[in-house]
Subunit: 277 residues, 4 copies
């Protein structure tokens, strides 16, 4: 016998810009939204019965239609509003709304002109179900470099090991960090995001890194200790190697000055740090 296992469907890459003209400067909200539904949809697979299949085009329309009233604060709140809307249909058991926000900053004191801050993306994934909602927030696309106070040594050596131990290397990564909020904690999504982001950057800058793994622990632990509304922190950190160029054939000393920046191959370290018990 053959059955439909886990499944979801929805609309992705909904590009929505909202301009609030009542503020000076205007406030620009620039979102990329993905909506996915789970629920009683097996018949749409097995029997080609579309009678329960809310069109993904309708999902797109709904995102635009609700933006006026509901996109007034944090993307997490807009995600919750979208999720609750679709949960109004009985066949829907769970709604997943993922939103990336792209930040536009006013140019100088201009009321109506902006540049895009491409340096990082704020993200959220909201899951709304019959049993309640969960909210995950995060930072993506943020490149970080530590030019010293990063080491890697004491690792095991086998016949295929050629890497030298180092007490002073460049650490460079492109951050994807996400965290869950405790369901029972009162959370101001904008203020929490801002505070957690500050903790992330401050600890990233301050700590001595003996490995990317240790960095994840130190930063995530600080977030959990300082922000009781956070229940767990996950990070995906590529290790974007910067290799010291050997200039000795040219009679030039290169003491941690000139590096080749690379992306292929890269280390990749992923971990979740969480409250236990």
């Amino acid at each position: 016998m053959i059955e439909v296992g886990p499944n979801s469907y929805g609309k992705s890459a909904i590009r929505l810009v909202k301009v609030d003209r009542h503020l000076t400067p205007h406030r620009v909200r620039d979102l990329t939204i993905a909506i996915a539904l789970e629920g009683e949809f097996a018949a749409s697979y097995r029997e080609g019965d579309n009678s329960a299949v809310i069109a993904t085009d309708t999902m797109k329309n709904t995102a635009y239609a609700l933006a006026g009233e509901h996109l007034t604060g944090a993307i997490e709140d807009f995600g919750l509003a979208l999720g609750r809307h679709f949960l109004g249909e009985p066949q829907v058991e769970r709604v997943r709304v993922a939103i990336d926000e792209h930040a536009w900053r006013p140019i100088g004191g201009a009321p109506d002109a902006f540049t895009l801050d491409s340096s990082e993306t704020r993200s959220t994934v909201v899951v709304v179900g019959r049993e309640g909602a969960s909210v995950r927030a995060g930072i993506a696309d943020l490149a970080v470099m530590k030019t010293t106070r990063s080491a890697f040594s004491g690792f095991p050596r086998d016949r295929f090991t050629t890497l030298k131990e180092t007490e002073d290397r460049i650490m460079a990564t492109k951050v994807t960090a996400t965290w869950s909020y405790e369901p029972t904690a009162p959370v101001g999504f904008d203020s929490s995001f801002s505070a957690i982001r500050s903790t992330f950057l401050e600890v990233m800058a301050d700590h001595f890194s003996v490995s990317v793994q240790a960095s994840i622990w130190i930063i995530a632990k600080a977030i959990l200790e300082r922000h009781p509304e956070v229940s767990e922190v996950s990070m995906t950190l590529p290790n974007l190697h910067h290799w010291t160029v050997d200039l000795s054939p040219f009679g030039i000393e290169n003491d941690r000055e000139v590096y080749v920046s690379t992306t292929e191959p890269h280390g990749l370290i992923e971990a979740t740090i969480r409250r236990s018990g």
Copy 2:
């Protein structure tokens, strides 16, 4: 209390080309490899203890070193060899090896000249653990279009629904399909891949699609029915909309002839179809 939850680390984007010069034409293997380890690595996070941390640079070296002897057949077999190698270390509990293969085809009858077939990528994800190994195979990046025999109607309408029902639309997608092999079945990874790929394309071409969901069911069911070595099939299919251009303002009839091809937004349908019981 704070603890280390799920975690893994490894090397990604290892770009390996192997040329077998004993064949005519030469055989070119062009792989992108990602290796990730799970196991007793919590101390590397919590205490910065690297004594168990096999360097990701060593993983990279190992992939190149083992390619001569072990990359002689299917990428699944090479993945298994890599996985078993790293499982030789006691702190490693599970190894995940993901390999994409990029196909080079001989130019005409040339023995030593090739063009890259960029139309699709063959992929595998092998997980090797103390309890055994699992092998997943797949196709990615394959764009498919059905110019007729695709419909979408009978879906519910609410206040935000504007999509018209259609009995004849273009269906276009970029396929990511993966499947698991039954652990007990004898599998020739190359021949199975080839046969499953053929089933996929044949059924994709032949069936009438009343929705992307129904297409997934029909294709996956055929794979499961025809290929007993497969235990489940997962597909992730974007619905890349092709909108009929309204040429009536110009006095031109457009009966399913001229379309705008779009990528943003797109539908996204994901499902696993599997043997039950």
Copy 3:
């Protein structure tokens, strides 16, 4: 004094799909079109006078509107039709139409199902002016590899030279090749494209390459010699280095078998080969 120098404007990334349902199998044309106008447009810059500025939205509409009647053969012919249309406006002195065609191939014998051949893009740039038209055709995105019969030696050595001479290396590149047709030659754009493409591949496969430069000369010369309708050939060839992995630390011999494939940095060789006199 400040003046408007060279300028053009238009619409890019027009994504157009046309399905010819009168053929079996259907014929799918999938184009990305860019239209740019030059002419008497200085006032639109200097005085903000839009009275001559054909809206780029109108250009887009025109491409869709003319596709039914004029996109029946080669993209070069469609480009010429578009160019001549816009040249009908007196302020327009020159129209540049660039078209990329993405090839969809029928699946087996299916009449209405296709896969995209992503391995190469056929391109054209047509320039239509008061004085006549010029047509350039080309191939892009085609990755080619020679696994032997490629060398690089005899180059000068200075204090910064560390590259070893080699009589047997992998040559890999991603081809951008374009050529101009003689204005006076009768050209069947589809048959010429097909024949020139065959020459390109055949000579690429057959020749011994002592450098990418020499390869360009040999291939382009063959195109010019065999195809009198071609007046010049330009190529832009990255040299995508494949470095032999040093496996000697592991006691493994690596005689031109296992390579690292790289893209950063890469050589880049660009040249035009043409009829002289």
Copy 4:
């Protein structure tokens, strides 16, 4: 007869990071460099004679080797140093060095931790020849939006025109702006870049735009008027359309509040504004 026409060769995508540890905070220079040579290289094509062909690998080595001594100020100066180095070879007639600089900003007051500012790229193209050098500088990848004070009306209407005139639209673009410095003017490349960038942003923010063309004129004219060291300004501005969503079917008014952000198709306006006479 067949001849070698215009040609160049070199090394692209050289990724170089330099850390100046004598400053607090450290200064990180992150460059992507492309070097191309022109000169007496026809024999390398026609005869496969490599005796004049400086290896592109040597070019890469040279960039790293000279970075210690010569990458101390503006990228324009480093480009000139690289160019002059290669001009020391008699067969080289002209050297083109293109450099993109990626900006790393200190995190807070940290001496050794940085985030990448991905919002824009500073670029230069330096051409050094026997007759002297020319320097072009620029900004790329900078996304700008004007939420009001942008219009487009008064354009001609033909049978394919459907675009409505508007006195209040969003203007959004991704800027590529480059300019040439007068060969005789004394230029501090860093201070000039900074001042020109400020003029660009200030005028972009302040002016009323009746078209992208008019914006180019107004901004470029201001740059030429305020910065006598600049001889010409070129801009390539896509018009990234933001379409007001029609929410009237849902009984919702949408007065310039909710937009669809698009990239395909887009307008593309390119012009050079220069001193005349």
